[in-house]
Symmetry: C2
DNA sequence: TTGAAAGCGCTAACAA
DNA sequence: TTGTTAGCGCTTTCAA
């Protein structure tokens, strides 16, 4: 057990291991990388030498020749304004949605020994940095989670020929793989549930209609209600925010005081709607049933707890990671997209 | 403007730029790295060549020779149990404390072009991976945010001679730089405030007394109260959790029904204490004044909003990043620690 | 099945 | 001030 004199300086290299094992660097490399055609006995010797020397491969040297870093960027991107005050939106972390995405990505990547680098791209400068980050080979590809629809980063990446995948379908068609949820299916779930509850005078509060998801949710809801014999469904457009949800609910109540069921395009607006209904003395769900969308943390914070449509965010994020790795392996492969089915989560509001 | 034939394959290298500029690789390298002693005219030529070729330095090649990656790991560590179900604690992201830490770190590092890699180290295996991550040269150092006191990772890193810094003083003395908050000062702030309000029968709910921060907060509070002429302050030990806070408050009320001021060692327990007081018909702050510690999101969620002690978490995190970079530059420098003063945030509970 | 040798793209002595 | 050159530690042909 006495061998492998400690290397004079720095940590041991392949050379040191090779010398300790009495083989060539190439052989040690083969053992480490699990290349077949290596004599089992030699494999064992090499393994012992590795343990004895405490060898750890140098990632830089490895990357230089393989042109891979084995790391990916997890980019939280948006259409933020140049010169924004806060360079790092704390709220991103507070957002349970992002937490679930990160959880799904890490859950898939960690067993593969890949750890995501966290990048924020709220400004043009930051977006340019992301592109550079990938071009410098600091990461092999990027998983993008956009907070806004008009995010220019996906196009930048595609134009740069950099491997990237997207959470949610891009507004403009782009040759990029993405995952998304079947918004229409989710909206149908909400419609079916409201009808099954016996709601007859149903309305909806949509998201901003320049956002794809909002369009799809509205269309899906209307289609499903039409199937149930309700050809016209009143709609007030919101902006996915608390304030806009409150305003929309007020207007809905003013224009359709007899409403007994509302599908709200996201939980945040639904939470506000619930408060408005409460102020107006309407009991939820008895007088008015409310269904939200997202199953965000807001859904549980609601009074009463919100019945809503849940994305399989973690699964979607894991699939996204898988798609990215596939694209890194085979850059010229056709883009793939995967649409996930959402599920109805019944709580007390409907 | 017609030069630099596009490189045959892959992206341009230093060689390509050098050829386009009619100089040597070394000169281009000097220009890129801002080394002085380069003829301004040549500098300009080189810059144009860089722009013309679209050159971006290869990080792997650079790291191989400089032995620096220019990236750091942000490690969320704990004393988690082996084989835990959830490999990635979503709640970490939900925790506003972590968000603030990350914000401070990113705020400091991003202008330097450094992006943190997010690592989780809840299990022994994960901790070994963190050590390997650094040993492989995938990051130059680690910023550790431990969720538990007995986290073994700091020692692993120190023993490995790997650059690392800690958020919060390690329980066992360790040659590692850290930042922390002056717990005793914070507790004194709380004491002074309660006394100034006119509280005469003051008690405290401490954290688990095997945790340093809990010890310091208790001692600091008692010392300050003694200065105000209250030599003995009743104390019930909690566990920094909601449940333990409620239990402690119940006990306090049973043993000292005439209490009119309580310092609770963290906001979560204070929140529970508030609920218990409410159940017992005690008005806060009129009957009983309550001061928490941390200024976590719980403080604002309380009814009434909690008066509490706030850490300058972002500043602390930024300083931590600075300490790490300093240590990476000068590995054999003595460890430094910086203690930050907390501040009293007066809301409605006291 | 194994070894020798040629780089990967860059920085940093050392010369000129 | 600039160029030449020698590696950094690894993977990967190509021969043996």
């Amino acid at each position: 057990m006495s061998e492998a004199p400690p290397p004079v300086s720095g940590s041991p290299t392949l050379e040191d291991v090779a010398r300790a094992a009495g083989v060539s660097r190439a052989t040690v490399s083969r053992v480490i990388n699990g290349v077949r055609n290596v004599n089992p006995a030699i494999q064992e010797t090499v393994r012992q030498a590795i343990a004895a020397t405490g060898y750890v491969p140098n990632q830089a040297a490895r990357s230089l020749v393989t042109r891979r870093t084995g790391s990916v960027a997890l980019v939280v991107s948006g259409a933020g304004v140049e010169g924004e005050e806060n360079p790092f939106p704390n709220q991103v972390f507070a957002d349970p949605f992002f937490g679930r995405v990160a959880g799904g990505v890490v859950g898939y990547l960690r067993p593969l020994g890949i750890h995501p680098v966290l990048l924020f791209a709220e400004t043009d400068a930051a977006r340019a940095e992301v592109v550079d980050y990938l071009r410098q080979g600091k990461a092999d590809g990027a998983i993008l989670v956009s907070t806004h629809g008009e995010d220019p980063l996906p196009k930048l990446l595609v134009d740069g020929g950099l491997p990237a995948v997207l959470f949610a379908r891009p507004p403009e068609p782009l040759p990029i793989s993405y995952v998304d949820v079947a918004h229409r299916t989710g909206a149908k779930l909400a419609a079916d549930h409201l009808v099954a509850r016996g709601c007859h005078r149903v309305a909806t509060i949509s998201g901003p209609l320049d956002v794809l998801a909002a369009q799809d949710r509205l269309a899906g809801f209307r289609d499903a209600m039409a199937m149930h014999g309700h050809p016209y469904i009143p709609c007030v457009e919101g902006a996915f925010t608390l304030d806009s949800g409150a305003a929309a609910m007020e207007r809905l109540l003013a224009e359709h005081p007899d409403v007994d069921g509302v599908f709200v395009a996201n939980d945040l607006m639904a939470q506000a709607a619930l408060q408005v209904l409460h102020r107006h003395g309407r009991l939820v769900p008895d007088d008015v049933a409310v269904v939200g969308f997202d199953d965000s943390s807001a859904a549980l914070a609601c009074k009463p707890p919100l019945t809503t449509i849940r994305h399989p965010v973690e699964d979607m994020a894991a699939e996204l990671a898988r798609l990215l790795l596939a694209q890194i392996e085979q850059p010229d492969q056709r883009v793939t997209s995967v649409i996930f089915d959402p599920a109805l989560v019944v709580r007390e509001s409907a």
